[in-house]
Subunit: 267 residues, 2 copies
């Protein structure tokens, strides 16, 4: 008999997973502002992976899902338990090659403890989108070319573990997502002289080449659409089947209201 553990980050996704899997154990990490669902809850700390693994085993958890935004927390090494002291050198080394390296190392640690690691998109139906226009106006001329160029930028940077998004306007790259995330990139574009992209522009979101979709799967939501509008963009393109659309109804409604083409593309 398998039980799911939800390793909860910020945002709406952990709550939706908890609601869809009421028997799942909801793991709440210290220092993260995450609402408590009606599920059973295990409180944990990044500094005590030993206690976390023990707690999960004791509650019969056999598979885990990483969901939501996970900030890079400030860790206090003096609070590490024995397991974390053992894991920390590997985590630290992995971190030097970027977020992806660290996340892969964390997955490895869970696998080594005998847990299965699932992707959120496997546990919640309808989280991703098949290719096509999802909401908003029909794609403007140049939408496809700009979306594909954004995809090419993300692909080109895959080995460097930079980010999962880019903004392109009439072939000119106006933003490349970095550690600060999509919202920060869109705020940067919003500060750009509008004369540089009079025709709008397109946000592309998609996973890096070779990215493990069980963790850090790219996602968009209502805030993405609001920020895209602030940045005077005309479209948002996501990789079909490989990007989470959070709070889907509101996201699609906002695209229509704000006049932003929202489409999933094969990229």
């Amino acid at each position: 008999m398998s039980r799911l553990g939800i390793l909860a980050g910020t945002g709406a996704l952990p709550q939706r997973l908890a609601a869809a899997h009421p028997g799942a154990l909801f793991v709440q990490f210290e220092g993260l502002d995450v609402p408590r669902p009606s599920n059973p809850v295990l409180t944990a700390s990044y500094e005590r992976f030993g206690a976390l693994f023990e707690g999960l085993h004791a509650q019969g958890v056999t598979e885990v899902v990483f969901a939501g935004g996970l900030a890079r927390p400030q860790l206090d090494p003096t609070r590490f338990d024995a397991k974390m002291r053992q894991l920390a050198p590997g985590f630290f080394a992995a971190m030097q090659s970027g977020d992806d390296g660290l996340l892969r190392a964390v997955i490895e640690a869970f696998l080594a403890e005998g847990f299965h690691v699932r992707g959120a998109h496997e546990l919640l139906p309808g989280l991703t989108a098949t290719a096509g226009v999802l909401a908003g106006p029909a794609p403007a001329q140049g939408f496809d070319a700009d979306a594909q160029k954004g995809a090419a930028v993300v692909r080109a940077l895959s080995a460097q573990d930079v980010g999962q998004g880019a903004v392109v306007a009439r072939g000119a790259v106006l933003g490349v997502e970095t550690l600060q995330g999509t919202d920060a990139m869109l705020r940067f574009v919003a500060q750009t002289d509008p004369g540089l992209h009079p025709g709008g522009g397109v946000l592309f979101k998609g996973p890096k080449a070779g990215q493990d979709l069980r963790i850090d799967m790219p996602a968009i939501g209502p805030q993405t659409l609001r920020n895209a509008a602030q940045a005077r963009l005309s479209g948002v393109a996501i990789a079909a089947e490989r990007v989470l659309v959070l709070e889907r109804d509101e996201t699609l409604q906002l695209a229509a209201e704000l006049g932003i083409t929202l489409a999933a593309i094969d990229a």
Copy 2:
């Protein structure tokens, strides 16, 4: 007998070229705020390439250098002369693939008119730097790794014609230069939560792979150092022999004053 024409953009470089080549014809474009040197001056417009070519030929100019920052001007097609009407479709098409495409097309147009196109670094000695620390403190631990990762990001994006710079802090990419330029990227990094890069970080500047150094050669100057300090960076790395160091004395002095390692690297 060859005469040089200086196609002047913004910044200090055109003035320095003019001072070093007092016989050169200084081409001042309408709409650009460029101080007038003591050289002979030809006033020109991006909208009238025919008149520009004729003026250069009439004044005996056989070789040209593009120098300084060239904004993407707002052009009025009704003001185009016959030559520009002929060139415009090609320029427009080239622009779709980014700044580089446009600049290459502009070079081609000058070559087709029989001009030689020179690089500023060929005409002013000592504008670039050989590998080594130029100013500021000795490189901190991680400087080389961050600088090389920045170089890898710029290299990876070469085919996408994105930008000529990146900011990396302890292996994490915090900024990728886009159309808005280096200063905009550094302002973006300055807005980043300092907790994301407590150890500083390194700005790398270098040409894209395959970039024509006769035009749009990457450059740093005093403002780059000031902005790097605002972004709480600990180092600035430039590609040896392939980046212009403008206002060199002031730039090096600022690096020392601000405690920023300034080094040229083989990348």
